[in-house]
């Protein structure tokens, strides 16, 4: 795995809707900008070699880093694969839609649900939103949220951004009735 740079983003929301948020709502993202393992190879039918070489390593790099950046127990989480313009969406999906990638985060966060994801192809500086859901019950409505990310010079055409996001709580000022009240 060739990593060009690591980006860490931490958002703390201290006011929302004109009211204080206390404690501040905290969301962290760690992203690795890596070389596309299938760079320059044309259409590769079997992606398993690149998955084996990269997916677990990038998951092992990002999972502890995003939890350290959050500095709190994660209650919601999500992931992203943003593919440079020379690659296929399938390349990004190959690296994040495997237990080899996500289990690093699930184990470290004591989580059980599948990670919600964004997969997107774009130029350097493309804006993307990472969806987050509750780590043990994806129906918990208070924790449905997303966070916007932009890295000004990534991904290059032959790169991928692989990212994990973690939130210490649900939405600030969350006050929707539980899903069960509508069933």
């Amino acid at each position: 795995m060739k990593v060009r740079k690591i980006v860490t983003i931490i958002e703390e929301i201290t006011s929302e809707g004109g009211r204080e948020v206390n404690p501040p709502a905290r969301v962290a993202i760690v992203a690795a900008v890596i070389e596309n393992p299938w760079k320059g190879q044309g259409f590769v039918e079997d992606l398993s070699e690149g998955i084996e070489a990269t997916a677990s390593d990038v998951g092992a790099l990002l999972a502890p880093a995003v939890l350290a950046a959050l500095g709190a127990t994660a209650e919601a989480y999500g992931k992203a694969a943003i593919v440079g313009l020379n690659g296929e969406i399938e390349h990004g999906s190959a690296l994040i839609h495997t237990l080899k990638f996500g289990d690093h985060f699930r184990v470290a966060a004591n989580a059980t649900t599948l990670l919600p994801a964004v997969e997107k192809r774009g130029p350097a500086g493309v804006v993307f939103d990472i969806p987050l859901k509750h780590i043990t019950d994806a129906t918990i409505r208070s924790h449905h949220q997303s966070i916007e990310v932009r890295i000004s010079d990534a991904p290059h055409p032959d790169e991928l951004i692989i990212a994990l996001a973690a939130a210490a709580q649900g939405r600030p000022q969350q006050r929707l009735a539980d899903l069960s009240t509508e069933l």
């Binding site: 060009r4 703390e12 004109g18 932009r150």
Partner: protein, 205 residues
């Protein structure tokens, strides 16, 4: 209906962006630097005041708090004030404010002198400013904190808050780096030959 305002709680949000370049143009920099911005989204305290309004009282009240908050985060996330080698600052003013409002918060001693003290620097702090809609990217310049003309440390970092500033807000940004550009190799004032326009007549012809 009145729109929710950040004024009720001061700072609406605080955002850290940090990056570490491990590889540039195929090889690892000799000193991989951490670069970061910390941005606070605040309510514009001068909304509705005219162009003759005295900005000093609010600036003296607010700017020191911002300098402390932003530099505390930079110091915590970059490994200490001693590790920081370059710095910069910026303001993005929402569309209902004046550029002068941003300037009042970053260009007076109540912000700049404190930021310099907290980061243990001596240089004037370089800056960028803009009046913009939420989500605008502003490129923030940095230079060496104690020897501003150190060419290896001329660098920038992009800052952007997806939902700020609202029209009635200001984003105040402090930026810092723990080292030079990756593969810095364009000399320095100490090594430059003396170059004058008349020496370059052939190149300019």
């Amino acid at each position: 209906m009145t729109r929710p305002s950040s004024s009720d709680a001061g700072v609406r949000k605080l955002v850290l962006y940090r990056e570490e370049v491990l590889n540039e143009n195929g090889s690892r920099p000799e000193r991989p630097a951490l670069r970061a911005t910390v941005a606070a989204v605040i309510h514009n305290p001068w909304l509705g005041t005219g162009p003759a309004a005295d900005l000093s009282a609010a600036a003296e009240a607010i700017a020191p708090q911002l300098a402390k908050m932003l530099t505390d985060r930079l110091i915590a996330d970059l490994g200490g004030a001693e590790a920081i080698e370059a710095f910069g600052k910026a303001a993005i003013v929402g569309t209902a404010g004046e550029i002068e409002h941003g300037g009042a918060l970053i260009h007076t001693p109540y912000f700049g002198n404190l930021m310099r003290d907290f980061l243990q620097g001596e240089s004037i702090i370089c800056f960028a400013d803009a009046r913009a809609e939420a989500g605008e990217t502003l490129v923030v310049p940095m230079w060496h904190k104690s020897a501003a003309a150190t060419r290896s440390h001329y660098q920038t970092i992009a800052a952007r808050i997806s939902d700020g500033p609202r029209a009635d807000e200001i984003v105040i940004i402090a930026a810092a780096s723990t080292g030079p550009r990756p593969h810095a190799r364009i000399g320095d004032r100490k090594t430059d030959p003396i170059i004058r326009a008349k020496d370059l007549e052939s190149a300019l012809a």
